[in-house]
């Protein structure tokens, strides 16, 4: 926990190193944004900034769940597949089955967005629970379980929809992905509200403190009377919840669900969380950092596209910047190491 950083700052004079260490990802993000703003003034237009926020909102939701997982020193590679599966189920519910898969517009029959959202989240929770179960009961490392899950859920998604997409929802459904409240896109609001709740849970609630304890030293947590298995399992269920919610929002945004959705999300999301300062070894990290990390990746993708950089070169730049961002964070933290 970075509470330490606070106290030192409080006393003494201003602790520059502590400050930089604490906000390293944010500083990195601001520098990056400044660079983009100079190279391409349109980058800072409000419409583009809202674009960025809307684009990151789905991976952002996943990253919130992933923060819980990584805080316990776990990892979840299955999220992209689970998202695809949950999205297809939600779409099928919204369309009232798999028959009228391509009806367009409001004339679609079905069960409404409420049931669709519930279905997506239910699939997510169930998928998360199954994986949590395998991790805690079969004692298989999370990397392996979720690697298996990645394959299983993708297969399930393809099987469920026979490989094809399902699209064309009613306005009430798509509002969740395409609508706005005032100038702010709905997915952005969902993302930020979830982030605030997750922040409160991790910072101020018993459950959150226990997540840190389990990640910090699982044996100690057990001997302190924590139910380590239950907490570990819960964390994957939470991840599943966000995969389901993300699936619903994505389907609403694209007005369609397909079996290949979310391919490769796991790495983007893990990168977001780690760039935000969460340690892959567990026990260290914040939701604030994750939000910053998510936006950083979004800014990177958007800025490079906006500048119409060749997509080959983009990949090289993105790879380098991910490493540099984490290196900067590590360096800043090592500077104040034992403070």
């Amino acid at each position: 926990m970075t509470d330490t950083g606070l106290k030192t700052t409080a006393s003494d004079s201003f602790d520059a190193f502590g400050f930089i260490a604490r906000f390293a990802p944010l500083i990195f993000l601001l520098v990056l944004m400044a660079v983009f703003a100079i190279l391409e003034p349109r980058f800072l237009s409000s419409i583009n900034l809202f674009n960025v926020m809307r684009q990151v909102s789905i991976t952002g939701l996943l990253a919130i769940g992933m923060t819980f997982v990584i805080l316990t020193a776990g990892i979840d590679l299955s999220i992209g597949s689970l998202l695809a599966f949950a999205g297809l189920v939600a779409a099928a519910v919204a369309k009232g089955g798999l028959q009228d898969r391509f009806t367009v517009g409001d004339d679609a029959v079905g069960y409404g967005w409420q049931l669709a959202a519930l279905a997506a989240i239910a699939v997510g929770l169930l998928g998360g629970y199954l994986q949590g179960f395998a991790i805690t009961r079969l004692k298989v490392p999370p990397f392996v379980v979720t690697l298996g899950g990645m394959s299983v859920f993708r297969g399930a998604a393809l099987l469920f929809a026979a490989g094809g997409p399902i699209s064309g929802f009613d306005k009430a459904f798509t509002w969740w992905g395409q609508g706005k409240i005032g100038p702010v896109p709905v997915p952005v609001i969902i993302f930020l509200v979830c982030a605030i709740i997750a922040h409160i849970v991790l910072r101020h609630m018993r459950f959150g403190r226990r997540v840190y304890a389990v990640g910090g030293n699982p044996e100690a947590a057990r001997l302190s009377g924590l139910n380590v298995n239950a907490i570990t399992c819960a964390v994957y269920v939470i991840m599943g919840f966000f995969a389901g919610l993300g699936a619903f929002v994505l389907a609403a945004r694209l007005n369609s669900a397909e079996a290949v959705a979310g391919t490769g999300y796991e790495l983007t999301v893990i990168a977001s969380v780690v760039i935000g300062g969460t340690s892959l070894f567990g026990g260290v990290g914040t939701i604030f950092g994750t939000v910053v990390g998510t936006i950083l990746i979004g800014v990177l993708l958007n800025g490079l596209v906006l500048m119409n950089v060749s997509s080959y070169v983009q990949q090289i730049i993105i790879g380098v910047i991910i490493v540099l961002a984490v290196a900067f964070d590590t360096f800043a933290k090592s500077r104040r190491k034992r403070a």
Binding site: T4, N217, L223, S224
Partner: protein
């Protein structure tokens, strides 16, 4: 507790053990390394289930399925292995799982306040918001104690609480334990420093090879009697040197080692002009309280931590040491204070552990390891150090603490160093093994190696050393000859704040 048995695959750790603790008593629980003490206590605290046997507490039959169960009944445990989360704060560690606050929310301010009070009580001078990672081993031990005290208890189980503490902290712990006793709370106290038994305990129980071999009132027994019960034969408490083997030839000289506190590394211990010399065949003791900078000095000489200024001379010549590999090349070895974290590869075989620093000696054709040479090496040291093991292919993690320590010592002896620094060489080691380690150090000195012993146990330092250097807060505060110096004299030097010529 009666009729307790517990087996691990391949090991019968406890066999039909009976164990009873009275109300308001301080009970010493004794036995050699691997006798089964921790195992029994883990059963008592609900961390492990027994195979057979029953636990009765205040006249009530208990079935403990988890540590929570035991805590509910007022049985609170300080485990032998640290159970702290390094990246959480002191306060969070103290209250983990029992945070004050409402049903769902944690009240951070209250938690830190309560922690501050507890820390004051046991003499831990640290902000409750400090990360545990930034504490020394001794301070971490005190956090464990604080946590135990924060729970409502009727019985406190302390598995080797003093092994990382030096005298003054131990005294504070005594005060607390006595105060608890006055409130009617019993304590089970495990220690390998047997003198502590006579200082504080009322009754004792001794375990040998997982079997109950004796119990009674401390007042009715003697040190020799207890040792005989534990080991099954007579052993002295400490080895005594038969005269010095020191030569006049300087083996290693540390000159003005200094390390400043940096804004970026505020809690690191400072060193101020630390200088001392050690001669061939000599045993130099370094004494000091927790945080005196002894470990820091040793690590600096060995190249494990970098210093700001100062130099190290080996055999009179200045050498540049930037890493442990450099130190080894110059004939310096270090047995670190934390066996498990800093020395052992618990998942690897004894053979591999033992030869790790001496690959040159067991190689053929340059970079191939010769299994036969390696086996011969292990066999030599098994005999020389009397390491009790089945074969060199066994995992080192399965050895008892004392034998693990001997494997680490063997690793350095295999290198044939000219200077060997041993930091807390007998921490957590039982009496029998302790004497063996002492004799080993004496033998090494006899063979001409210069030895620096760092220990928090004054009797140990006094029994072994030719000369003793005392330190406090990163400064050398004095130097006295080993034989003939009293414990009081040493304590005075260790608590001096300004250096005084010896």
């Amino acid at each position: 507790m009666s009729g307790i048995s517990k087996s691990f695959p391949g090991v019968k750790a406890l066999e039909n053990v009976d164990f009873a603790v009275g109300a308001a008593e301080i009970h010493a629980f004794l036995g050699e390394n691997g006798a089964g003490k921790s195992t029994l206590l883990k059963i008592l605290s609900g961390a492990q289930p027994p195979d057979t046997g029953t636990i009765e507490f205040n006249g009530q039959q208990l079935v403990l399925a988890s540590p929570q169960d035991a805590q509910r009944h007022g049985i609170v445990t300080i485990y032998q292995e640290f159970t702290l989360a390094p990246d959480m704060t002191v306060a969070e560690n103290v209250f983990v799982g029992r945070e004050p606050g409402s049903r769902f929310f944690v009240n951070h301010a209250r938690m830190e306040n309560e922690t501050r009070n507890l820390c004051k009580r046991i003499g831990l001078d640290r902000d409750p918001a400090t990360r545990v990672r930034d504490l020394s081993v001794a301070e971490q031990q005190m956090v464990e104690i604080a946590r135990a005290l924060s729970m409502k208890s009727r019985l406190i189980v302390m598995d080797e609480p003093t092994s990382a503490l030096s005298r003054s902290e131990v005294e504070k712990l005594y005060l607390i334990v006595r105060a608890l006793k006055a409130e009617g709370i019993s304590t089970i106290f495990v220690t390998h420093r047997l003198e502590e038994v006579f200082e504080i305990c009322d009754r004792y129980t001794v375990l040998r090879d997982g079997r109950h071999v004796g119990a009674g009132r401390v007042a009715d027994t003697s040190l020799e009697g207890i040792i005989r019960m534990m080991v099954g034969r007579d052993v002295g408490l400490l080895a005594h040197r038969q005269g010095s083997t020191a030569t006049g030839e300087v083996a290693l000289e540390a000159r003005s080692l200094s390390r400043r506190r940096k804004a970026t590394d505020a809690s690191a211990i400072e060193l101020h002009d630390v200088s001392f010399t050690v001669h061939k065949g000599e045993i130099l003791g370094i004494a000091g309280l927790v945080g005196a900078g002894r470990t820091e000095s040793a690590r600096a000489i060995f190249g494990a931590d970098l210093i700001d200024s100062g130099e190290v001379l080996v055999g009179g010549k200045p050498v540049s040491i930037k890493s442990p590999a450099d130190a080894i090349r110059n004939g310096i070895g270090l047995v670190p204070e934390d066996r498990k974290q800093q020395a052992l590869f618990l998942g690897l075989a004894i053979r591999t552990n033992l030869s790790m620093a001496a690959h040159d000696r067991i190689s053929s054709w340059g970079s191939f390891i010769s299994t036969s040479k390696e086996k011969a090496l292990v066999e030599d040291f098994r005999k020389a150090l009397n390491i009790r093991m089945a074969s060199g292919d066994q995992l080192v993690g399965n050895l008892s603490g004392g034998n693990q320590q001997k494997v680490v010592l063997a690793r350095w002896l295999a290198l044939r160093p000219s200077v060997l620094i041993v930091d807390e060489p007998t921490r957590g080691i039982d009496v029998g093994a302790k004497v063996e380690v002492h004799n080993l150090l004496i033998e090494m000195a006899k063979s001409g190696i210069a030895i620096i012993v760092i220990s928090s146990e004054l009797p140990e330092i006094m029994a072994l050393s030719d000369r003793i250097v005392t330190m406090r807060e990163g400064r050398v505060t004095g130097e006295v000859p080993g034989p003939g110096t009293s414990q009081e004299q040493l304590m005075t030097l260790m608590t001096l704040s300004t250096p005084k010529a010896a």
